[in-house]
């Protein structure tokens, strides 16, 4: 994303990834108390990284937890759909299983350990997620099934679009921004930034990864084959 007017540096509290970060503030219209925070994530070759999870926590204001939601992660054609969900802490997720075959969902991630048999025509109550963190999901019957839940207490969160961008209206103040993606190779601490949303109506954070992503899982392999 290119600034249409004279760029103005706000702050950069964590210059950890050399040359990877550019903070730009722009003039524009908007309510006096708020500004638009725009985050751009790029792969090392300069393409936008779609689907990266952005979480933004205010550093000055008292923490305001997002309201829990009810989300759905279905099982369709022996795959999780969607294969990544970002949910506020305390949320519930149902796993309805639209396949005609059975699944046995499991997680041994620290944030939530659970096992869930999903048989045809036998609905199972939603699962509640009370701890923050990344939860990796698998199926004990179909070894190639893989999905992630990111449980967050950040009031602002979302995923980057096809161009690698995400934006939100946030009150002026200092924020910690974290970026996560299941296939990132970077240390998570290198993907956290502090920034101040100041007087300008728009604040931009651009982050270019230094390490290429892990290859995406192969999805067109017939499910009947040995994994």
């Amino acid at each position: 994303m290119r600034p249409p007017t004279r760029p103005h540096r706000i702050s950069c509290a964590s210059p950890g990834v050399a040359g990877a970060l550019a903070l730009l503030a722009l003039a524009g219209a908007g309510p006096l108390w708020a500004a638009t925070l725009v985050i751009n994530v790029q792969t090392p070759d300069g393409h936008g990284l779609a689907g990266a999870v952005i979480t933004v926590r205010p550093l000055d204001a008292p923490p305001r937890r997002p309201a829990p939601v009810h989300a759905v992660m279905d099982q369709v054609s022996r795959a999780f759909a969607p294969d990544l969900l970002v949910i506020p802490v305390g949320s519930t997720v149902s796993f309805p299983n639209s396949d005609s075959v059975s699944h046995q969902i499991y997680s041994f991630s620290a944030a939530k350990r659970f096992q869930l048999p999903l048989y045809r025509g036998k609905p199972y109550p939603p699962v509640q997620f009370d701890q923050t963190g990344v939860i990796t999901l698998g199926c004990n019957i179909h070894d190639d099934m893989l999905a992630y839940l990111l449980v967050t207490d950040a009031p602002y969160f979302g995923r980057t679009d096809a161009q690698g961008a995400w934006s939100a209206e946030v009150p002026r103040g200092r924020y910690q921004v974290s970026i996560w993606h299941p296939r990132l190779r970077e240390n998570q601490t290198d993907l956290e930034r502090e920034l101040t949303v100041g007087d300008a109506d728009r604040a931009d954070l651009q982050l270019r990864l230094l390490k290429s992503l892990q290859p995406a899982p192969i999805t067109d392999r017939p499910h009947s084959w040995d994994y």
């Binding site: 005609s100 499991y106 041994f108 192969i218």
Partner: protein
């Protein structure tokens, strides 16, 4: 032995009754149009290296297969795979695999699995489709053809995996160990026919070759269990590396007083590497090195064997093009050279999965080999055999979609 077939069928039926909802079955019929100039097939007692010989040119039954997988409660499942080939078998339908599997949920990054029954040891990286078929070619590599003919675990196998890819790492690691019986005949086909390339799996307790002269790989009379142990490493879902050491621990001095069969002590090391890309490419390398021996009174007869293959395959949507090069050799310590064989083979195949039910396949196979026994039977020891097959397969059932 039909006892196992009966018990497996019983187990499966029991499973269907108990769970009702959690069984998947599949029935498939594979017919072939074949043209071949190969010498007499092993199924007729010949030394041909392909499944179909020159007398088989025409329409043939490739395979009729029935398979069922049923959950028995949450952690156990039963698998049953039976086929008919219409070529002089001991029984019209043979069971190729029948086993129970115990599959507890992974805990703390580790997963344990246990199999009991009759099944293939984890050697092949090629036979990854349902029914231990290859999705790349109709005829298996020399290594995996031999496994299909003479090797089956009739016993127990435990597998322990560390699931690194489920806990933020790039790798998974696995350990496998098995103990098995009914293996005293394994090795006899290698020493008498040598390596071959085909897709004719021997049913459990089945016979290889025609009645009267055919051999029985799955026999138990020396009272000793065989063992194997292996390791497997995976990088994401792209690369698999497998190494396995196998020893049937047969006592080569033992003979079955009823049938006169002798125990073949067979042991081998195998290694395999499979690499897949996100763009549809697959490369498979497998290596096998072992020895089979017998020790009738006053004799010690040994047949070291080794084989390798390299397969390269590319998927274009629903079509797959594959090419494979095989090398194989059976040596012997018998000065006259009984059982000696050396050869190589090229295979090219096109597979088209029209939908979940229909599959078309075209395969060209050329095997060039020297064999001691061909010369002993009065022919030239060198043979170049070519087989062309066109296959149409229709599959249906609750497991086909």
């Amino acid at each position: 032995m039909p006892t196992l077939s009966r018990s497996a069928a019983l187990i499966t039926l029991l499973g269907l009754c108990v769970t009702g909802r959690a069984a998947d079955w599949e029935l498939s019929l594979d017919t072939r149009a074949v043209t071949s100039d190969a010498g007499r097939s092993f199924m007729d007692g010949g030394l041909g290296t392909t499944r179909f010989d020159r007398k088989d040119s025409g329409i043939q039954l490739g395979q009729a297969r029935f398979a069922v997988t049923a959950s028995l409660g949450e952690l156990w499942s039963a698998h049953f795979d039976a086929s008919a080939w219409d070529d002089k078998d001991r029984s019209p339908v043979g069971v190729t695999e029948a086993y129970l599997q115990f599959r507890p949920y992974p805990r703390a990054g580790y997963r344990f699995r246990l199999k009991a029954g009759a099944f293939y040891p984890p050697v092949s990286l090629e036979n990854r489709a349902a029914g231990w078929e290859s999705p790349y070619t109709l005829s298996y590599s020399a290594i995996n053809t031999w496994l299909g003919v003479e090797v089956r675990t009739i016993g127990l196998e435990g597998q322990l995996d560390w699931l690194g890819t489920r806990s933020g790492h790039d790798f998974d690691l696995g350990l496998t160990a098995g103990a098995f019986g009914w293996n005293e005949g394994a090795g006899v086909v290698l020493a008498s026919d040598g390596f071959m390339l085909h897709d004719r799996q021997t049913p459990v307790f089945g016979r290889v070759g025609p009645p009267g002269v055919g051999v029985l790989p799955f026999q138990q009379f020396d009272g000793r269990a065989g063992v194997y142990a292996g390791v497997e490493g995976r990088w994401l879902d792209r690369v698999v590396l497998r190494v396995l050491r196998y020893d049937n621990r047969a006592d080569p001095t033992q003979m079955d007083t009823v049938s006169g069969a002798i125990a073949w002590n067979t042991r081998f090391d195998s290694a395999g590497l499979r690499i897949e890309s996100g763009t549809g490419w697959t490369a498979i390398l497998q290596w096998l090195d072992g020895e089979t021996s017998i020790a009738p009174p006053g004799l010690q007869l040994e047949w070291p064997f080794r084989a390798q293959f390299a397969l390269l395959s590319k998927r274009f949507g629903r079509q797959t093009l594959s090419a494979r090069y095989d090398r194989f050799e059976v040596d012997t310590n018998i000065p006259e050279g009984d059982g000696w064989q050396i050869g190589h083979a090229w295979t090219a195949a096109w597979m088209f999965d029209a939908d979940a039910h229909w599959r078309l396949a075209l395969e060209w196979l050329r095997v060039r080999s020297y064999s001691y026994y061909r010369a002993e039977q009065g022919g030239p020891p060198l043979a170049t055999e070519t087989q062309l097959q066109f296959a149409v397969r229709y599959a249906f059932g609750s497991g086909v979609r």
